[in-house]
Each structure stands twice: as C-alpha cells, then as structure tokens.
Symmetry: C2
Subunit: 335 residues, 2 copies
C-alpha cells in the first residue's frame, strides 16, 4: 500500500464574527503507509458542526482551540487502507476525530471500528453519532420528559434538534420546533412534530410560541440562544427545564450582546437552565446505541442529510450551518 | 379577654418601580376574642422580606398578589391572648403568616407553636425561619458544596446571604461576599468570610471578583441578579452551580432591562442555573432545624438584626431592604 497524498483544510486565520472562505486554506499532507501500531485510513465522510466555531477562537474552553496553519479536526468515517495493528485490517470501517482531510495515518487508539449493521455509514456521524448522543443525553438527563409535557426545540431541523424532536415524541410529549423555513417545518411535521414556528417569517416569536404551546412549555432544548431563549423564558411553565446545548445565534458575534430581558423568570418560575457538552454523557453511550438503534429499526427515528462533495467544499458546508443551509445533518463526502 | 383594636398596614396602590410611602396606608381592624376553634394573637415581631415586592404586582406568580385595600401579609411571631382551641393557651408563642398588623384572630390551623429553647423569638423569623431555610435548602440542594470550593454570595450581609456565607464556611468552602458597605463587609469577615467586595465602591465588579476568587467560583448564591450575575458568569469555573434565590436589583424595574451579556457561558462552562422558592425545601425542615439549631448552639452561626419599632414604621423597614438599610434580618417590633 503506498503513501496517500491527502488534501486537507487548514485554519488560515481566526475568524472575527461570521467566518469567511478567507479563514481557510487548502493544503496537502502525506498519510503514510501504516507501520507497526499505526493505521492508514481514507476518509469517506466528514462532519461539520456548529461547536467547531468555538474552537476557531483563541480562548480557553472545554476543548483547546484549533491551531493556526494546521488542518482542522472533527468527526469522520473512513475505511482502513493499511494497518500495522492487529485490531484493524484493510477494508474496516472506522470512526475518528481527524476529519477535514482526505486521509490520515495515526496510532490504532485513534480509531474506533464500526459495525454498521446495514445502516448507512453516515448514521454514525448523525443519529448514532455525536449529534445523536447530544440530543439523547441532554434531553433525557436535563429535560427529564414526562408524557403529556410540552417541549420546545430551537434549531429543530438540525442534526441535534431533529433527534430531540423525535425522542420527545417517543416519550409522549407535545413538540414545537423552531426552524428557518417552511420546508424544514413541514419535514418536522412529517416526523410527527405537533407544530413549528418559522422564526424568519414570524413577527413575534414569543406570541408564536404561546400560540403553538397554549399550555406553556415544560422543556426547552436550546440550540440557538438569544431571542429564542427569551421567548422560552416567557412561555415556560413553573419548574421547566432548559437543556442549554448551544447558542448558535451568538457564535459569530464580535462583541457581547445583551442577554434575555426576562431572566428573572429563573427565580419566579423556579426554572433550571443547565449547559452541557456531549462528553458528559459518554457513560450513556451503550444505552443510547441500544435505544436509538432500536428506534431506527422500528421506524420511529428518521433523519435527513445535506451532503457537499469534496474536501474543497468543506468550508462551504461549515459556513452553511450559520445560514441554515442544512436540513438535518451537514456532511462532506470525501471518498 | 376583650377584642383588640389592631393597627395594620394596607396596600393602598400597586407600586410602579421603587415603592414609596404613598403605596401604603394605615388602617385598623378588630382582632376579636377567640371563639371555638379560633386563636387570638398579639404580634410581637413581623418580618419584611424582598419577595414581598413581587406580591405587590398584579401578576400571576408562585404566590397570589396582595389585594388592594387589604392588610399585607408576611411572617410574624406573636403571643396567644385567648384561645378557643385545645392546642393553644394564652401566653403561647406562635409563628404565622399574618404580619403587617398588631393582632389577628384566626383558625388554629393558621398558627404554629414555637418552643424557643432559650433562643430569642426573632430567630424564628431569621436563621431558624424562612430566610434560614431558604439559605440552607438552596445552598445545599443546588450548590452541592464540597470542601475546598469557592462560593460567591451576593446580598451577603442580608438575612439569607449571611446564613449562606456561614453554612458555606461550615462546609469547608472559601467564601466571597458582595455587600453595599465596608461595615457590612467587616461584619462578614468577623464571621469567617474570606473576602468581601463593596459593590458600591468597586470600579469593576468582575475584576474585583477575580481578585477575591483567584481560583474562580464553583457556587454562586444569587440574591441580586444584574451585574452581579454577569460577574459570576465571567468568573465561574466549569460545572459551577448558581442557586438563583432572588434578583433584588431587578424588583423595582418598570421595564425589563437587558440580561447578562455573557449568558453563553452556560453552554461553554456547563453551568447550572436553578431558581427556587423556599417551599420546595419544606421537606428539609426537620434536618434544617437540627443542623442550624446545633450550629447556633456551637457558636458557628451568628446573626444580626435591624429592628424598626411600631407598625407605622413597617413600610420604612420594607423600603429599606432596597437601599441596603439592613444589616442581617430586617424586622419590625410590634409588641
């Protein structure tokens, strides 16, 4: 097996505000034939996710920032080309964190073998991957759903949001999703979501939420922050739980903008707002795979993907997350 | 036992913004000699508390609003004058919710007999009363303190705040309190608090908190909201817990002002913000009395009181809560 010349996307400069193509550059590296203990992998699909925006800033956070001039990282599914480790052989399908490049050679411990059980490989970057566990862990652990409760989900047609919507329906909840287009909203309705709000066309997000959730909301799964959070605070019932997964409306701000005007409801309504990151739910991984795998087989969980082709289009795919270009999981096909 | 003519303070009009004396009026009512099943009580002390401001608004909340033209309500300690119920006799000391008046006659179920065990009766309106349980329940249940952690308390010299500070020290935490005068701060230091911030004189609350808590804060007990909450979000360590007890800086706002600019830290630092009201901790009452009673006997919990004299001065006492006129518990002596 020869070395592979791998194209990769590097962080050229740190974005200020909304990232642009100028923040990225294409480069090449060598993914060498595997020597002892190493595995050489050709990537088939890579994931772009909103959380990556945070790693582009040079600030301390729960993961270190991306390094300037180096290839970005992220979840990817690949196929083993050559292996110097007994645990892997050519043709094995693996999950790993070295996305944003066509191929990679690294120590065996970097890779996790996948048995797809007949599912498309991309499922392991979506409903059965990090976005799925984010939805499953955050919604069940923080939301603590009870049948008959009302759940509000922002970014509801995204990879995480659409999973939350469906898990909430499985748990017997009424679900209202906020989306950026009627097409996305109709897709959610086809999945069983009770009502959607098109936040781009509504004149009054809070009033729309009141109309869609006349009994108030008991759980808010927040991917967006900002005015969505303010509306959720307004419509929350006493004792409501807010799973604070993300605030994508804020990721590209250059300054800090004002928080919700009605935060005092946290006290008056005895609300719980709890932020989380997916690694906190690693201990739920086995139950997650068992539950979601079962729901997929039973047809209770469906998903959509928006797929760009070729490593050169990875920045486009990433930028599209902030303009709502994706329905469901945004992916880049590499293989 | 004759009927008692009881002076009382009524809500004359609903305040807009900071309440004034014009919102209150003095009236009289009759507390009749007790007939069968009834108890006639002369009040000795009544409590004024920040939460009462919320009940002056005509909005749905966890307790119904005070009625216009009627006497206000709140915790009080009184002495039984006459009783038509076997459970009470003249001279008994009772705790009840019919403060803001000199005397009251009501059904026996309204009153709880107190055995003071040699403690001053006012303790049952402070460290062993509702403010004590608020501090004990909220701090232990939401804060989940571990020895060696750092705790930030706003409104730290108030009835609740000063209890939180001392319980935090008992639990082995480092404690930083925010207060409105150096006199209050020095009192807290005499109780063992590690550092205080005078929020009225500091030029930069966040920087002062960073200086006072160089390892960051693990628990924030919030009585104030606003810029205090923003500073706490900034200095919070990953996984920090915020017990959202009150936001007194916001109670007298006529509009809604902007929330903290850095709320996104809830996600990035995996913070938990949890609002609560004291009735949620009623189930901890026995353990609370056992623990705090023991700590008082051991000299580990001390308290201060600011006492106004006479029912006519109850509005003054209440208004003083919003200007920081109280060190420790604000009370009105009636008997």
């Amino acid at each position: 097996m020869p070395d592979i010349v791998s194209k990769e996307i590097r962080l050229k400069s740190r974005p200020s505000g909304m990232p642009t193509h100028d923040n990225f550059e294409l480069g090449t590296a060598i993914a060498a034939e595997a020597t002892k203990g190493m595995v050489q992998v050709k990537n088939l699909y890579m994931s772009v996710d909103p959380y990556m925006r945070g790693r582009m800033n040079d600030v301390k956070s729960y993961v270190p920032p991306f390094a300037l001039g180096e290839a970005l990282q992220g979840h990817a599914v690949g196929e083993v080309v050559s292996s110097g480790d007994d645990g892997f052989k050519a043709g094995d399908i693996v999950l790993h964190m070295m996305g944003w490049r066509e191929a990679i050679t690294g120590p065996a411990a970097m890779f996790t073998k996948i048995d797809a059980h007949g599912l498309p490989l991309t499922a392991f970057l979506g409903p059965l991957g990090m976005p799925g566990l984010t939805a499953y862990g955050g919604f069940l652990d923080i939301g603590k759903p009870k049948a008959g409760e009302t759940v509000f989900v922002s970014g509801a047609a995204g990879a995480v949001g659409s999973m939350v919507c469906q898990i909430a329906k499985i748990k017997g909840c009424a679900v209202v999703g906020s989306v950026g287009s009627d097409e996305k909203g109709e897709w959610l309705k086809s999945l069983g979501v009770d009502a959607y709000i098109n936040y781009k066309t509504t004149k009054d997000l809070t009033q729309s939420l009141k109309d869609a959730a006349p009994k108030g909301i008991d759980i808010y799964f927040d991917n967006v922050g900002g005015s969505h959070l303010e509306a959720a605070l307004e419509v929350a019932n006493g004792g409501a739980r807010f799973a604070e997964c993300g605030m994508i409306s804020r990721y590209n701000e250059t300054g800090q903008s004002d928080g919700p005007k009605n935060l005092i409801y946290i006290v008056g309504k005895s609300l719980t707002l709890k932020g989380f990151i997916v690694v906190q739910y690693q201990h739920m991984q086995n139950q997650f795979i068992a539950d979601v795998g079962g729901w997929i087989r039973e047809g209770k969980i469906k998903w959509e993907e928006t797929v760009k082709e070729g490593i050169e289009n990875a920045p486009d795919a990433f930028l599209g997350l902030f303009t709502g270009a994706n329905m469901g999981k945004m992916l880049v096909k590499l293989g």
